[in-house]
Symmetry: C2
Subunit: 214 residues, 2 copies
Amino acid sequence: MSKLKLDISMSLDGYIAGPEATHEEPLGKGGGALHEWAYNLRSFSETHGRDGSEGETGTDDDVLAEASSGHDAVIMGKRMFCGEDGPWGDEPFEGWWGDDPPFRKPVFVLTNHEREPLELGETTFEFVTDGIEAAFERARDAAGSDDVQISGGAHVAQQYLAAGLLDEMQIHIAPVLLGGGTKLFADGEKPLGLRVTRVIESPAVTHVRYEIER
Amino acid sequence: MSKLKLDISMSLDGYIAGPEATHEEPLGKGGGALHEWAYNLRSFSETHGRDGSEGETGTDDDVLAEASSGHDAVIMGKRMFCGEDGPWGDEPFEGWWGDDPPFRKPVFVLTNHEREPLELGETTFEFVTDGIEAAFERARDAAGSDDVQISGGAHVAQQYLAAGLLDEMQIHIAPVLLGGGTKLFADGEKPLGLRVTRVIESPAVTHVRYEIER
């Protein structure tokens, strides 16, 4: 049975983007620090169209490589895809990632606004307007027996968590306090128990994997 | 030079107490899960007046024993001492910990309301009304060359952090989402970089030690 997993970087104070995020600066003030652990790694370079041979290897690179390959379909929210809610407009934005996005598998983008599928390099973006369960079904079909990964943002992760559909989370806890921005977890939900299933440490970030108690 | 350290348990979503905390239930709804990793440990039993010989030993116990002994003075807020702000009243509460509190060293309680020192077992509580810097000075004098530990609550930790007085934090990240309550870190502060200096893992909790970047 394939699993639904969340993989995301979060500050120690619980944010996945800093305050005052804009289309130009989607990670908000100070938010770049969330992903500092990843930028210079070999697997990051390789999946982002740079020459991987100069990237750093080691523990963090192993975790990133595993996180990039351990699933066969991705779900994300429209805001993660383009930084904004609302209609697509006349020249719909094609995502942050250029001609060859790093996913290289089917990506299902949750949105309230219909749009034709988009193929960029080895990545296909399909736009799903009929809710989180429909997106999960389509992603699971695309993934076959493999897992499905939620890449963000917070609102999408929160919806899957609240619906009891999420099996596992890997949180890359970045050593920074952002003091505001987009919280990963929602307030107002009932307390929810987790099980720590793996911890991988490095000086740059703490990778903790949790199973969700049902 | 002695250091000022924070040692505290926090949920993955950033809370040190759950919602709806009361004098009767100071950890709020679900907040007991924050300290579940500690309750059955030998060092917890020993410092809380129970027979330690039946407590569990191992990684978490080593961390707790170290956290209980690696300093010679403690600072806490009035709310951590008694669950409430405001005047002491006619029969001032003597803390949650009974006749023999687990600290066994000088404890400095930050409050706006004067009160005579209180001696219980091997612990002395002194009540400091002239602010966080005065409390730190008195605690540092009491600790000699040893470190000073902030035990909570959030508001006290936030004040020391904002004043640039905190050197180090050990956060025991408990595998639970509380969905509300008392946040450890304040919103509205500037982004602040940390350095991971140690990670100790167990199935029950992830102990991460950070140095604060200045």
